[in-house]
């Protein structure tokens, strides 16, 4: 059974002449432990897809369920609780809170969920240790390198046994070595049963996914499972286009 299920999801911004169809009739399902890569040019609706999947925005039409629960039936507080306990986000620009240390950033969802500070700290340290960042735990984000910041962001996204990982170009601001390291971590999380959606422009990194979804103008134009090769996805003469 799919952990994340999106059925006929559409999102329209604005009204009248300024109306923009960000995504149209998207169907997507992600099972536990699966890694889905989403590719597409700028403005194709990738980030909108991710924010709707993570309950940060509501679709104009369609239905989204996470672990069998429909988001449309949830209150704002229910959704906030879902994000604290189930969904983890990783953004391209790291999006760490500059005023909190690395470990405090990691423990943020736990502390928001009411977990005792000491207990949250222990869990956060464990997550950082797993990612090789235990020694940098008390550093503030502006004292960390780009790769370290993204690892902290991933630690924050997986801490507390979250089941759905949504990453918006997690390697976009990193070099290829760090980019690969980040993908490896996400894959490791998937191996532990986490369902993940990763937006990426890098076909090579997308090839790590179980499935690649290609978006153009807000519509799914291709679903590949598994990708025959990363390069073929970008070839306009390919039969899958």
């Amino acid at each position: 059974m799919s952990f994340l299920e999106m059925r006929a999801v559409s999102k329209v911004y604005g009204e009248g002449p300024t109306e923009v169809h960000a995504i149209t009739d998207i169907d997507l399902s992600v099972a536990r432990g699966a890694l889905v890569a989403v590719m597409g040019p700028s403005g194709s609706g990738k980030s909108t897809l991710l924010t709707i999947a993570g309950s940060l925005e509501e679709p104009t039409s369609g239905e989204v369920t996470i672990d069998g629960a429909a988001l449309s039936a949830m209150s704002r507080n229910d959704k906030a609780r879902l994000r604290r306990r189930t969904v983890g986000y990783v953004f391209q620009d790291f999006n760490l809170l500059a005023g909190l240390t690395a470990v405090e950033n990691v423990t943020l969802p736990l502390e928001l969920d009411g977990v005792a500070t000491r207990k949250a700290h222990t869990a956060g340290m464990a997550a950082l240790e797993e990612l090789g960042l235990a020694e940098r735990a008390t550093r503030f984000p502006d004292e960390l390198s780009g790769g370290e910041r993204q690892r902290v962001a991933i630690a924050r996204a997986v801490v507390g046994n979250r089941q759905l990982l949504l990453a918006d170009e997690p390697s976009g601001a990193l070099d290829s070595v760090n980019g690969e390291a980040v993908m490896r971590m996400i894959l490791a999380a998937c191996h532990q049963g986490v369902a993940a959606i990763v937006i990426t422009h890098d076909a090579k990194l997308a090839s790590w996914a179980d499935r690649v979804v290609f978006l153009r103008d807000g519509r799914v134009v291709d679903k590949t499972m598994p990708p025959p090769s990363p390069e073929s996805l970008l070839d306009p003469s390919s039969p899958s286009q």
Partner: protein, 808 residues
């Protein structure tokens, strides 16, 4: 410059806060200085059209010789003679004035309301106030000093409608107690003409605290507060315009160009705000002017405004806005062009700012205020006082960022919302530090007013504050409220007709519908504090059985050997008190330095004082009384000095006027409630104004501070923060700023008062023992709690967009 102007024109909504602040401040200054400059009488009022004015206490040969000399040297002189005449039955008086209505210089000081000016020795013209007091009208006969004169007109002094006089022709004032000579001696220094000669310029200089000076000081303080808030406004504006600024850099603008754009934008905001304020202020002035004329008792021209002060306030507004934009201007040039183009603000620079300058300013302020306190009792110390306050204000502004850092450290193990809010405050000190400084200054001013009022009103010796209640009236015999006093040995004046006066007092009480009339007896005794500083002030009536009964005091509750009873809190614990009587002063017992003689013949050292809360608290009421025990022990004679009449309802102006007229017929005078506000009302108003000022600044600043951290809200929401958490963040930010502002302002206020009082010869440090606890608690507890609750209620909105950052 063009770009700066476009920035202001196109982004005026973002600058609305700063524009509104400046406009309101300039408008308030325009109306404020208009009112303050026009309400009191101008120092030039007595000059008429003359350039020199001499005053003499009377007419002597030498003085007349001087007048003749001036007449010979400088041409015509205008002589105005005044003799003080007391209104029967009142402590008020008016002048019998001999003045030529067509005199060379004094014509602006006279105007005819009705009738005509007196032209013969048997004619008089009176002001409306004198006519009312003496029940006169045109055609009436007025007898004064054995001379009967017909009232032929009603006159006024257009420059001072409070000037009450009866005008007679020159030569009719035989015993003047003030002679004014108006003349023109161009190019001659007044000092060369005589010590009693002044010019308008000299009069203006002799008053360092004229309305203009006060207005400029207040305008400067207001502009400082505005500048502090505007720093936050311009910083956020520069942040929002980061992409545009990056674009400017990308096409080749230098750091100097970019700084100039931001600074010019600030200056233009100042100019527009100042002009807007002037227009609004002038409109408000025109609307209020008629009411002011009625209350100020003189005619005020539409353009009769201190334009120099208004111009200074406008310039200050532009300077404040310019300097407020300077720091953000520097900050944006530190960001790389690429970062600016992508709209990423630079991470806050780690500042290792030392607290030394702030501490130095505190020390400087302490000594300046100490110097002001030391010379305050001698009429000086104003410059030191003002400089001290300025230094303390600067210290508060300098120390504010450091305190935010300290707060952040103290709360590093606190709950998440507290931790995040305080760290944001510390990180964005450019905004929060300015806001904290402004809040602290608002609280500081309020605390100084509160503590100073509490100290002054709490002085048990020189008891200040309101006198009798609105339902009370005191009728005095010619002995007056303080009795005959030591030196007169309790001897009544020869014209003392007690029977007539007692009858008059009871008639007044009856007319007021009161049976509650208490006879007030005095003796020659009074109290004195045998130490430097303030001494005892107030009447010392005798605690007769009737008086004690009237206030529900049972004899059994009093010590049989008590000498003095008082309701003044803490009076019984005073040391070095002396009860002096008889011929104490007549025998030459005056203080010499710290030495206060206390001969047994007419002085009782350390009289036994008992505090009795039931006694009334008015300054003129019997709040402190001498017991009959002491009267017998010291063999004092008692005299009736008045009656206290108490009614069930506040007394009307008509009733009081009737009472005064009745009192006059019986050789009595009356005293009623004065307009002096109570200490409670002053402290309450100071508290309210301080809190409103602080919360106003806080409300303006908090939005700016949180908008800076708007990106954090996006992350928090993505991490699962509910609106509760977002509300908590704003609430803690508001509460923390309000709390530190309240603490810093209160501490600064007490530093100022301690510095001033410790050297003050009148009120020492002990005067600060009267602490307005309730009001301080309101500022220190209720204000931060209010700010926290307000922040919580007004916050919590979810960030507008997640997938894309809003494009501005």
């Amino acid at each position: 410059m063009r770009w700066a102007w476009r920035l202001l024109r196109r982004e005026w909504r973002q600058q609305l806060l700063v524009l509104a602040l400046i406009a309101v401040a300039v408008a308030a200054t325009t109306v404020g200085v208009g009112v303050s400059a026009n309400t009191p009488l101008s120092p030039y009022v007595g000059f008429g059209t003359a350039k020199d004015l001499a005053t003499f206490p009377g007419v002597s040969t030498a003085e007349m010789a001087a007048v003749s000399k001036w007449h010979h040297l400088y041409g015509p002189v205008d002589l105005i003679k005044n003799e003080t005449v007391t209104i029967p039955g009142s402590i008020n008086a008016f002048d019998l004035r001999a003045q030529n209505p067509r005199g060379p210089y004094g014509q602006p000081l006279l105007a005819l309301v009705s009738g005509h000016y007196p032209v013969s020795t048997r004619e008089v013209a009176v002001t409306s106030g004198v006519a009312t007091s003496l029940n006169l009208k045109v055609g009436s006969i007025w007898r004064e000093g054995g001379v009967a004169r017909r009232v032929v007109g009603v006159v006024e002094n257009p420059q001072n409608l409070l000037d009450q006089f009866a005008l007679v022709i020159p030569g009719q004032v035989r015993k003047p107690n003030q002679v004014t000579v108006l003349f023109d001696a161009p190019g001659v220094a007044p000092g060369k003409l005589g010590a009693n000669v002044v010019t308008p310029g000299l009069v203006a200089q002799s008053n360092p605290l004229n309305p203009e000076t006060i207005s400029i000081a207040l305008a400067t303080l207001a502009m400082l507060l505005i500048a502090l808030v505007a720093v936050a406004g311009f910083t956020v504006l520069a942040q929002r315009r980061l992409r545009s600024i990056g674009m400017l850099g990308a096409i080749g603008a230098t750091d100097k160009n970019i700084k100039m754009v931001v600074r010019a934008n600030g200056a233009m905001a100042g100019v527009v705000g100042a002009l807007l304020g002037l227009v609004v202020g002038f409109a408000a002035w025109m609307a209020y002017r008629p009411s002011l004329e009625a209350s100020a008792h003189h005619v005020i021209g539409v353009f009769h405004l201190p334009w120099v002060v208004i111009a200074v306030a406008m310039v200050l507004a532009v300077i404040a806005a310019y300097f407020a934009a300077t720091r953000p201007a520097k900050a944006v040039t530190r960001i790389s062009v690429v970062a600016a183009l992508s709209g990423r603000p630079a991470p806050p620079k780690k500042i290792r700012r030392t607290v030394v300058p702030g501490v130095v300013f505190v020390v400087v302020a302490f000594f300046l205020l100490g110097a002001a306190g030391a010379s305050g009792g001698k009429g000086g110390g104003i410059p030191e006082l003002m400089l001290g306050f300025v230094a303390l204000t600067v210290a508060v502004v300098l120390l504010a960022p450091f305190l935010l850092t300290m707060l952040s450290r103290l709360t590093r193990r606190g709950p998440l919302a507290v931790r995040m809010a305080t760290r944001d405050l510390a990180r964005y000190r450019a905004r929060s530090g300015s806001a904290l400084g402004a809040i602290s200054i608002g609280v500081f001013i309020a605390v100084v007013v509160m503590v100073a009022s509490a100290a002054r009103f709490g002085n048990v010796l020189d008891y200040a504050g309101p006198n009798v209640a609105p339902t009370q009236l005191i009728i005095y015999t010619p002995i007056g409220p303080y009795g005959p006093g030591p030196g007169n040995a309790g001897v009544a004046p020869p014209t003392f007709n007690l029977k007539l006066m007692d009858s008059g007092a009871h008639s007044i009480a009856k007319a007021l519908g009161s049976h509650d009339i208490i006879q007030l007896d005095t003796t020659s005794a009074t109290l004195q504090h045998a130490a430097p500083g303030r001494s005892y002030a107030g009447p010392l009536y005798v605690a007769t059985p009737q008086l004690l009964k009237a206030f529900g005091i049972k004899a059994s509750s009093l010590s049989p050997t008590a000498d003095i009873l008082s309701m003044r809190p803490g009076f019984s614990s005073l040391t070095k008190m002396q009860l002096v009587y008889g011929n104490y002063f007549a025998n030459g017992n005056h203080s010499q330095g710290n030495q206060f003689a206390c001969p047994k013949s007419d002085c009782l050292a350390n009289p036994k004082i008992q505090e009795v809360t039931e006694l009334p608290s008015g300054t003129s009421a019997p709040n402190t009384v001498i017991t009959e025990y002491a009267v017998h022990q010291l063999a004092l004679k008692t005299l009736v000095s008045g009656w206290l009449v108490q009614t069930n309802h506040p007394l009307s102006a008509l009733q009081l006027n009737d009472a005064r007229i009745t009192a006059a017929t019986s050789d009595l005078s009356i005293e009623t409630k004065s307009s002096i506000p109570t200490s409670a009302s002053i402290i309450d108003w100071a508290t309210l104004v301080g809190i409103l000022l602080a919360l106003g600044i806080l409300a303006m600043s908090i939005g700016l501070i949180r908008s800076e951290a708007a990106g954090d809200l996006r992350i928090l929401t993505a991490a699962g923060a509910s609106s509760f958490m977002r509300r908590n963040l704003t609430a803690v930010t508001a509460g923390a700023l309000a709390l530190i502002g309240a603490v810093v302002g209160t501490v600064a206020g007490y530093i100022a008062m301690i510095a001033f009082s410790r050297t003050s010869s009148l009120d020492g440090l002990s005067s600060l023992s009267s602490v307005p606890v309730a009001n301080l608690l309101i500022i220190l507890v209720a204000m931060p709690v209010g700010a926290t609750v307000g922040g919580w209620l007004l916050a919590g909105r979810e960030p507008a967009a997640f997938a894309h950052q809003p494009i501005e």
